[in-house]
């Protein structure tokens, strides 16, 4: 694709924008009031495409949780129609509710992880994240130093003015999250002297993000997954700030999702395409897991470090791990009770 081709429609838009801008200046020049801001805000809903009507109905729709079954059906049909037109293929939007007697849990073997980041991209392919500008990824893998203690470092310490002996080896940042590398790019993984630590939404039982949301657009589903009604989110980003695991991402601009890469099997609360100005995050691949399928990241992990299952089923993989292995939850001191467990063999 040449960059010229890409530019053309944008140029037209620029012309239109300029004329609109002039309008605003005339209207707003005299009055120093909020009216102009409110006016600019309405522009957001003033769409030029043929689907303006659908957009309006979407704008007026209720929070997903409060919709009647009929309204849910309408909303889903509207979306299916719009997405199918937009992406040029038959897109399904699923509204399957949580299964009875299921509480989803996840376990990750940090001893196994080699930091290949295949989970990151499996997730992107499955969940229709924005590919570029901004790039959105729900999983972040951190490279951590194993540390190297040496006798030489003994001499590099210093006696504190108060006489406290500080050893040079104190500066070894083995296993310190704050010292991790997020942008590592070696030729091959795993690298000698490092281990890897993937993080994503922990689906907390007591999620801080849900508590701070002023409009209850994000909530915990009965199967334990914390979801977002993208159509109800006002974009205040309180959840982004409140998450201790940095799991939430924000659509700073209109997401860039190439039609050919779009995954047409979607769920209303899961991987359906998002719009600008809303938060998103891992949903344990709701669209798959509620149909009984493993999450995309579990399936792709080449070392089998990722495990998923029903925490209420004693025979499930996760429950067997909780039974057999040593597990820990990340930042357990915050009482968020993640359903994402880390374990070692």
């Amino acid at each position: 694709m040449s960059s010229d081709e890409k530019k053309k429609p944008e140029d037209n838009k620029e012309v239109k924008e300029t004329s609109r801008r002039e309008f605003f200046k005339d209207a707003g020049g005299g009055m120093l009031t909020t009216a102009a801001i409110a006016g600019a805000a309405t522009l957001l809903t003033d769409s030029e495409d043929a689907q303006a009507k659908a957009t309006w109905s979407e704008w007026f729709q209720k929070n997903y949780r409060l919709m009647t079954d009929e309204e849910k059906k309408d909303a889903i049909e509207r979306l299916e129609k719009r997405y199918s037109e937009e992406y040029g293929k038959s897109v399904s939007v699923d509204g399957t509710p949580a299964m009875e007697g299921v509480l989803f849990g996840y376990a990750l073997n940090i001893q196994k992880c080699i930091g290949c980041r295949r989970c990151v991209y499996a997730c992107v392919k499955e969940n229709n994240q924005s590919r570029n500008n901004p790039e959105i990824q729900w999983i972040r893998v951190i490279k951590m130093e194993k540390g190297n203690f040496s006798t030489e470092n003994m001499k590099n310490g210093y006696p504190d003015p108060n006489g406290i002996q500080v050893g040079g080896n104190a500066y070894q940042n083995a296993g310190v999250t704050l010292e991790g590398e997020h942008y590592y790019q070696p030729e091959e993984v795993p690298e000698k002297g490092y281990f890897y630590f993937p993080m994503q939404c922990m689906q907390c039982e007591k999620p801080p993000c849900v508590k701070v949301c002023p409009v209850r657009t994000t909530y915990r589903e009965p199967d334990g997954v914390v979801v977002i009604d993208y159509n109800w989110c006002i974009g205040c980003r309180m959840c982004v700030s409140a998450c201790p695991y940095w799991a939430r991402r924000f659509n700073w601009g209109e997401p860039n999702l190439p039609a050919e890469e779009m995954n047409p099997v979607t769920h209303y609360l899961g991987n359906r395409p998002r719009m600008k100005g809303v938060a998103e995050k891992c949903t344990f691949c709701l669209q798959r897991t509620r149909q009984g399928r493993y999450t995309a990241c579990v399936e792709v992990c080449p070392v089998g470090a990722r495990k998923f299952g029903n925490l209420l089923d004693p025979e499930s993989e996760v429950r067997k791990i909780l039974e057999k292995k040593r597990v820990f939850r990340l930042k357990a001191d915050l009482n968020t009770y993640p359903k994402f467990f880390y374990f070692i063999d």
Partner: protein
């Protein structure tokens, strides 16, 4: 009804008329506002991608202004409180100026909230009744309540008082005084709740301490009155309104005390965080000294410290504090900008560096953020100028009702109108 309409028109026409200095000032603010309309248009159509916000640092310049301006709004109480609790006669005469500041500051706060939001078109989702209001769980909903309540209280108190002055009537104390007392308590609440908004998130260790509300209030009561003093000095110089030295001295004492407390609290924070120097102090460490080779905020921090200490030193010396043409304005400007840095970018941004999972990423505002913020300030200052100018006219008696009132004294019909206004 007639007196109310004529009050509005008289007030507005007095406020809008002015000399060349006034015109240049308003033109300047108008220009910045126009720039903001452009910036706002870009942001509201393209999304927040025009800002430099990112997933690592998801709050920035707008939220910095928001936090700071809530403080300025709350600081109106530093005029109201001494007037009605201590019966400070000189301040009591100009108490309405404080209320005008509160109204303008909350107005600016609303502008910055609009810029903060990713989906301002969905603002109705947060309106109780038609939307969902996650109250009492979400602290943000508390903030919405207290800020709007505060705006209402100050607008009602201020304009009720001005209206009564305008029509040469006595204020109905049974109506007015309870509102004044409520607004005093309410002022503390807006800043406390704003502090709770950010300090109830253990995910951001830099914010997560119980000192936040008191530090917010003390810095607010230093920065806000600084701005009020400057406004007083400008008004005194340019209008016939009598603002006594006594009133100004009282305000500068408040600044001195509160700035002193703020500096003390900052020092406590630094010692508490840096002595043990845990992972949780990384943000403060980054702010003060830089970390991992990133030093973006370090100069700002130290400039802010110097400004606050400089301002405090001047204010501590009575002779300089009472030198109205040079040293007091300098001290006020130093205090105002010192706190603006400390409580704005110096508070909001480093809390995101590092991220909760340890990524260090610097942030500098984009040009759109800057023009939008400048414009937000300009619109607020323009409103403040107009409100204060109109209020001065009323206080001076230059704006007064020329018609005849239906009945002398308190008028039930007017009262009920005020009540509608309050709702």
């Amino acid at each position: 009804m007639r007196p109310i309409i004529s009050f509005i028109t008289d007030f507005a026409s007095y406020a809008l008329k002015g000399g060349s200095k006034f015109r240049i000032w308003m033109l300047f603010l108008g220009f910045l506002t126009l720039l903001m309309f452009f910036g706002a248009y870009e942001q509201f159509t393209k999304g927040m991608i025009v800002t430099n916000y990112n997933d690592q640092v998801s709050w920035g310049l707008y939220e910095a202004q928001f936090v700071f301006l809530v403080g300025v709004a709350a600081a109106a109480v530093t005029v109201v409180f001494p007037s009605y609790i201590y019966h400070h006669q000189d301040l009591k005469k100009i108490v309405v100026l404080g209320e005008m500041l509160a109204v303008s500051a909350v107005f600016m706060v609303i502008i910055f909230i609009m810029f903060h939001m990713g989906r301002p078109d969905r603002l109705w989702h947060i309106l109780p009744g038609i939307g969902i209001f996650n109250w009492p769980n979400s602290v943000l909903t508390w903030d919405v309540l207290v800020l709007n309540g505060y705006l209402g209280l100050n607008a009602v108190c201020g304009f009720y008082y001005l209206y009564k002055k305008y029509t040469h009537q006595e204020v109905n104390k049974l109506f007015y005084m309870p509102l004044v007392y409520i607004s005093i308590v309410w002022a503390a609440s807006i800043h406390t709740v704003t502090a709770f908004l950010i300090n109830t998130m253990p995910s951001r260790p830099m914010w997560f301490h119980s000192m936040m509300p008191i530090k917010f209030i003390s810095t607010a009561f230093a920065a806000g009155p600084s701005m009020i003093i400057i406004a007083f000095l400008v008004i005194r110089k340019n209008t016939k309104l009598e603002i006594t030295d006594n009133a100004i001295n009282f305000m500068s004492q408040i600044v001195t005390w509160c700035l002193g407390i703020a500096i003390f609290l900052s020092m406590s924070e630094v010692v508490t965080e840096l002595y043990p120097s845990t992972e949780h102090s990384a943000s403060l460490h980054y702010l003060m000294f830089g970390k991992h080779g990133l030093f973006g905020l370090v100069p700002w921090y130290w400039v802010s410290v110097l400004m606050m200490l400089g301002g405090f030193t001047i204010l501590l010396i009575p002779k300089l504090r009472k030198e109205y043409s040079l040293f007091l304005p300098i001290a006020c400007v130093l205090t105002f900008f010192g706190i603006w840095i400390d409580k704005g970018m110096g508070l909001v941004v480093p809390a995101f560096i590092p991220t909760p999972i340890g990524e260090f990423s610097e942030y500098t505002p984009s040009i759109y953020e800057i023009i939008n913020s400048l414009g937000g300030w300009a619109m607020g200052l323009a409103l403040f100028t107009l409100l204060v100018k109109g209020a001065t006219g009323v206080l001076l008696g230059e704006v007064k009702y020329k018609g005849k009132l239906a009945s002398a004294g308190w008028e039930p019909i007017i009262h009920s109108k005020e009540e509608t206004y309050r709702g």
